[in-house]
Amino acid sequence: MVRHRRPGIRTRIIVMALIATFALWGATAPAALAAGPIKIGFGMALTGALAGNGKAALIAMQMWAEDVNKKGGLLGRKVELVYYDDQTKPATVPGIYTKLLDVDKVDLVVSGYGTNVIAPAMPIVIERKLAFIGLFGMAVNEKFNYPYYFGIMPTGPEPLTDWSKGFFEVAMKQSPKPKTVAIAAADSEFAQNAAAGARQNAKKYGLRVVYDKAYPPPTADFTPIVRAIQATNPDLVYVASYPPDSAGMVRAAHEIGLKPRMFGGGMVGLQYASLEKALGPMLNGIVNYHFFVPEPTLKFAGIDAFLKTYQERAKTAGVDALGYYLPPYAYAYLQILGQAVEGTKSLDQKKIGEYIRGHEFDTVAGKVKFAPNGEWAKTRVLMVQYTNIEGNDLKSFEGPGHRVIVYPEEWKSGAVVYPYEKAKR
């Protein structure tokens, strides 16, 4: 006779407890996962040529994450930024985004700073059908035509020409009317796009291009380039350059006594406090693009509070002290993404993409609405003229009247002083 031993009471309790534990774990597991953070991944230039801007952008993005988390996060979940240094090198970008998506399992991605690192992320983004907002990309979607790409840079629906449109429009309204233009651009994706747009604008306004050359980014001295430009005696000089080159170009122009009727256009770096300080009065008279300046005509909800916090943090981080250029837009593109997540109540990439396409967003950089090609529906590339700068300190740039908005009409805060020779004084 086989005797079956019935399980003891202790064994039964243990088994019941285990079953209950598994049952509870099963019931709560999805909830626990749902309570995990929403991860937003990106590469950012934290070293390399554009690190100055990249780090400033990162501070703004961290400020957004903190602000959102203070209010309870998105969809009731905290927000976590997952990022890697792209070293300002396009070659690092595909690896970074693959890791973000496959290893870190981020929920959303946004771009790093600049055309050169946005473009190499596009094939991955397109392949995986992700909604993607690019930070200061110049005509990135021109060839991809991807429906869920959006660019946070106020260039407008025709980015190539919108970028320099203001420079040429302002010049063509002056007397005597300019007839010739010189175009100098760095040999890089952004600058070449800007130069291509400038050529189209020059053609549109019937200007003869008398100098049109690219220069390699590691250029130590710009005096030969400026001398070559001077030798062609152009009425306008349009420059598309990166920060150290912009400083070199302005210094060389000042030293050689370059005398066009208007000078500037697409010089990156003149918006940074450090270069403004370094160049000081040499900037007087230059007409260059900008995206935000503290002029009375340009006030957006939340921008003052944002800049105040940013400027505090910038002191210890060793980044752009004023933060007028990139940081508001770095905050704004996450604001748009956050509003789209809340608006769709999901992390579905298609829904988010469609939502961004169809809505207008309130951001610290003003109202943003996108055109079908993902660029801003309406251009807001400001042309500002540097005036009344007397010293090499930040006080010389404080308050309105030093970067006068001369274009577009809607935001204009003063009239352009023409020609450059007169404005320089």
Binding site: T47, A49, D221, I225, A228, P244
Partner: protein
């Protein structure tokens, strides 16, 4: 577009920038040309020198060139220390070829990251009354921003040349590059002589950095832009030749300037490196090499 005045201006601009290239390349000529130490971290030391000048200028109001000169003893000691580590860890064991290269790569990154952590990534520049001023000599415009670095670089080159050719230690440095054993038989320690020479090479980075930050704003990684150019100059001039380094720097500066102005800046580097290849094909030891 062509005019004699423009040509003159462009040649002078090339000489000025060439002089600056010489200041940056002298350290490589000594370390790589004379000592056979592939110090690819030299441009990073130059950036360190630039930040030294920046700190002295912004905090204490010191003239950048004076700051560069005052920084030289510190850089000399730093160079002696780096060589000691390099010698003990790699050269002594015969591991210097590849591992030594990695060591200097490492030093480059350490310098860059240290500067990043300390000063951030913003562009830094110096202030001096003469930066931004230009003097006109007939048809030639001489920007002080370039003329002063060129003059300082020439003075540095002459000083280094005199040291190497007229002093006991200078001759010993030259001897160590030619025959270790013979030097040892003369009772001198090749390791000590090499440490001295390497320290001098690094000391030049202090003044070269000060000149660099006078010419334009710097950020921690900007030194990478100069690695190719300074090695090209050292090779073109003839390994270990101080006069050759100056000549090669001036040739490259003038060629770049002429190409930039009359043909297109994109071609400037290509033409310079093309000339380097051409010279090496005819004279494999470089212009002044033996």
């Amino acid at each position: 577009m062509f005019s004699f005045d423009l040509l003159l201006d462009v040649v002078v601009a090339g000489i000025l920038v060439g002089g600056f290239y010489a200041a940056v390349s002298l350290g490589i000529t000594v370390a790589f040309g004379l000592l056979d130490v592939v110090n690819i971290a030299h441009p990073a030391f130059v950036i360190l020198g630039a930040y030294g000048a920046y700190v002295a200028n912004s905090r204490f109001g010191l003239d950048p060139i004076l700051a560069g000169l005052l920084g030289m003893p510190v850089f000399f000691l730093l160079g002696a220390l780096v060589y000691r580590v390099y010698y003990t860890s790699f050269e002594k064991r015969g591991d210097e070829s590849l591992r030594g290269l990695v060591f200097f790569f490492g030093i480059t990154f350490i310098i860059e990251v240290s500067l990043l952590l300390q000063y951030g990534v913003d562009y830094r520049s110096v202030e001096a009354a003469y930066v931004g001023e230009t003097i006109a000599l007939g048809p030639i415009d001489l920007p002080f921003r370039l003329a002063i670095p060129c003059a300082v670089a020439l003075a540095l080159t002459v000083t280094l040349h005199l040291f190497l050719s007229r002093t006991f230690y200078g001759r010993a440095v030259k001897a160590v590059s030619q025959d270790h054993l013979a030097l040892r038989l003369m009772g001198a320690s090749p390791v000590r002589i090499k440490a001295l020479a390497f320290a001098i090479a690094i000391a030049t980075a202090s003044i070269a950095g000060a000149l660099l930050i006078m010419i334009g704003p710097v950020e921690p990684s900007v030194g990478r832009e100069y690695i190719g150019r300074v090695f090209a100059i050292a090779v073109l001039g003839g390994m270990g030749s101080i006069g050759g380094t100056l000549a090669a720097s001036l040739i490259l500066g003038v060629l770049e300037s002429l190409t930039s102005t009359f043909y297109g800046p994109s071609w400037a580097l290509a033409v310079s490196f093309g000339i380097l290849l051409l010279v090496l094909a005819v004279r494999p030891a470089g212009l002044f090499g033996r």
